[in-house]
Subunit: 321 residues, 2 copies
C-alpha cells in the first residue's frame, strides 16, 4: 500500500466510525443480524459517463451516495450501511475534496460507511467509484417493479427533468449565473434520494422504482415488467419553477423533462382507489406527489397532452454508452 | 442503455438465478432475513494493477470472485450473495469470456449473484470490476484481526508464495512451458479462496486474516492491530513443490515467497495449547496447516531461519500504487 493510499484510508477511518466497520482494519465488516429482510444495491459512477471531470469532487461523492440510496428509496428501505470502492487518481486534492463530500453526505443520510477498497489506478484510467448499499426492507414487504396491476394509477414525486436541464446547461458550457440555473445544475450533480418518501409510500404501492434514466423509460420498464401498457399525461408532469423560468413551459420542454435521466424521483403504480389516501399522505408529510398516468391492459407506452395523443419521442430516456 | 449493455445484462440473468436477484429487473436485490450476523467485503480489481491485459478474461472473473471470497474465508463466513460492478470495455468477446468465467466460479463456490451495475466506459479507461460479497458469520463469532493474544502461535494454510512466483514468470515474459510454471501462473491468476478451511478454523483461532499482500506484511498487520510483536520462522514457511522445482529452496526464494502478494492463504493466531487440536483438524479435514511463528509482547516483526536472525527485507509485501 502506497503512502497516498494509506493517507486516504486513514482519512476514511474518520468517516467509518460504526463498530461494524472494525475501524477498516480487518478483512471485512461485521454487521449484527438484521431485524428483517435486506435490500441490496450496487452502482458505479465513472468520470465522463456520469459526471464531468470539472464537477466539484464533493458533488461526485454526493452523486455516488445519492444514486445508490435512491435504489433503496425505491424499495422503501432504510439504509443500514455502505461499502465503497474508490480509484485513487493522480490528484490527491481531488480525493480529499471527495472525502469531504462523502463525510457530509453519509452524515446527511445517517449512512454508516462499513468498508470497501481503494486502488491507485494507472494515470490513463478515468476516475470511478463503486458503492454497495444495504438497507432494511419495510415490514410491509418490498415493492417490486414487476407488480403493477391493470387499472393502477401512475404517480411521481417532484420535480421531473431538473437534472436533465442542468446537464444541458453544463453541456452548452454556459455561464451558470442565475440561481435557477444553479438549482438545475445542482439537481444533476447532487441528486437527493427520496428515502423518506420511499418509506412512507411503500405500504401504499403495487410497484415502485426510481427514475434514473427518464420518466418515460422507467415508466415503460414498470409496465413491461408487469405485463401491462402505460399511458402518460405529459401535461400532468411536474416541472420545477426553475426549469420553467429557464426553459419555459412548452410541449418540447416537457418532452425533454420526461426523457432526461438522473432525476432520482420515485415513480409508483397504485390502485386507483388509493388516490385519496396518497393525497392525504403527501399533504401530511409535506411532499409533492403527482398523478401522471395509468397502467392498462396491453403493452407499450402512449403519451398524451390532455386528451391529445402525442407522438412518442425516438429516445425514451438516457442511454449510457 | 446500449444494445451491448443490454446483451451483457441478458447474459448475466442466466447467472443470477437466485430469487433474491429479482431477475436483475428491479432496482435492488432482496435477501430474506439472514439467520445470523453478516460479514461484508468489497474489493475492486483493475487492469494493469491486479491483472495483465493479456490474462485470459475467464481468470479475471475468477480473480474478482476469489479475492472477494477470500475476505469471507478469513472471517469463517459462508457466502450468501454477491453484487458486481462491471466496466464494459471495447471488446465484447472479452466480456463474454469474462461472463463464462464468472458463471463457472459462482457455480464452484455456490455463490448467488444478486445484482450490480454495468457501465460502458470511455475507451481510454482501463477495465475494472468491483464486487461486494455478503457472508453469514460463523456462530462462534467472527475472528478479528485485532484479537491475537501474547503467546499465540502463528499458523498458515499452504502453499505460500506461488502467486508471487507466477507473477514473476509473467513479468519476465518467459514462455510458460512446464506444468510447474503453469501451476504458479494459475495461482496468480485464479486464487482459490480458503472458504472451507476458514469455516473449519474460525472456532479455534484468536485472530485470522487472509494473505493478500504478503505473509510478512499480513502477519505484521495482525501483530500491530493486536498490539503485539511477531516472530516468523522463514524455514517453516511452506513452499510448493512447483515453486521449489522452478526456483529452488533457498533463503532468497523463501524471502521472495513471504513478501509476495496474492497468496490468499489464511493466516491465524491461535493459543499455543490449541496446537494438537489444530493438527488433528488439518489431518481430519485433509488440508495443510503450518506453524510459522509466534506473537509476543512488544511490537514489530522479526525474522528467523531456524535460530538464526535474518535481516528484515526492505519490502515486507506487495504495495499497490
Amino acid at each position: 500500500m502506497s503512502g497516498r493510499e494509506q493517507a486516504f484510508i486513514t482519512a476514511l477511518r474518520q468517516i467509518a466510525g460504526d463498530p461494524a466497520a472494525r475501524n477498516l482494519s480487518d478483512d471485512a465488516a461485521v454487521l449484527p443480524r438484521p431485524s428483517g429482510d435486506l435490500v441490496l444495491s450496487h452502482d458505479i459512477i465513472v468520470e465522463n459517463v456520469h459526471y464531468f471531470p470539472s464537477d466539484p469532487p464533493e458533488t461526485v461523492a454526493q452523486k455516488l451516495v445519492g444514486v445508490n440510496l435512491s435504489d433503496l428509496a425505491a424499495k422503501g428501505a432504510k439504509p443500514i450501511g455502505a461499502l465503497m470502492g474508490y480509484s485513487l487518481g493522480p490528484d490527491y486534492k481531488w480525493d480529499q475534496a471527495f472525502l469531504k463530500g462523502l463525510e457530509s453526505v453519509c452524515h446527511q443520510y445517517n449512512l454508516p460507511l462499513l468498508g470497501g477498497d481503494t486502488v491507485a489506478v494507472p494515470r490513463h484510467t478515468g476516475h470511478f467509484s463503486a458503492m454497495t448499499v444495504i438497507g432494511l426492507a419495510p415490514s410491509c414487504g418490498v415493492p417490486d417493479r414487476r407488480a403493477a396491476k391493470e387499472g393502477d394509477e401512475l404517480w411521481v414525486t417532484s420535480p421531473i427533468g431538473d437534472a436533465g436541464f442542468g446537464l444541458n446547461l453544463l453541456k452548452q458550457k454556459k455561464n451558470i449565473n442565475h440561481s435557477a440555473q444553479e438549482k438545475l445544475v445542482q439537481a444533476y450533480r447532487s441528486p437527493e434520494p427520496r428515502l423518506k418518501e420511499g418509506i412512507w409510500l411503500a405500504p401504499h404501492v403495487h410497484a415502485m422504482a426510481d427514475i434514473s434514466d427518464g420518466l418515460l423509460i422507467d415508466a415503460e420498464r414498470i409496465a413491461n415488467a408487469s405485463g401491462l401498457a402505460v399511458r402518460i399525461r405529459l401535461d400532468r408532469v411536474p416541472l420545477s419553477s426553475e426549469a420553467i423560468s429557464c426553459f419555459g413551459d412548452t410541449k418540447s420542454t416537457r418532452l425533454q423533462a420526461v426523457t432526461a435521466g438522473d432525476d432520482y424521483q420515485l415513480i409508483m403504480a397504485c390502485a386507483a382507489n388509493k388516490r385519496q389516501e396518497l393525497l392525504k399522505l403527501s399533504k401530511e408529510k409535506q411532499f409533492d406527489l403527482y398523478r401522471v398516468g395509468q397502467l392498462t391492459a396491453g403493452s407499450g407506452l402512449s403519451l398524451f397532452y390532455g386528451a391529445e395523443p402525442i407522438k412518442q419521442p425516438d429516445r425514451l430516456g438516457y442511454l449510457h454508452g
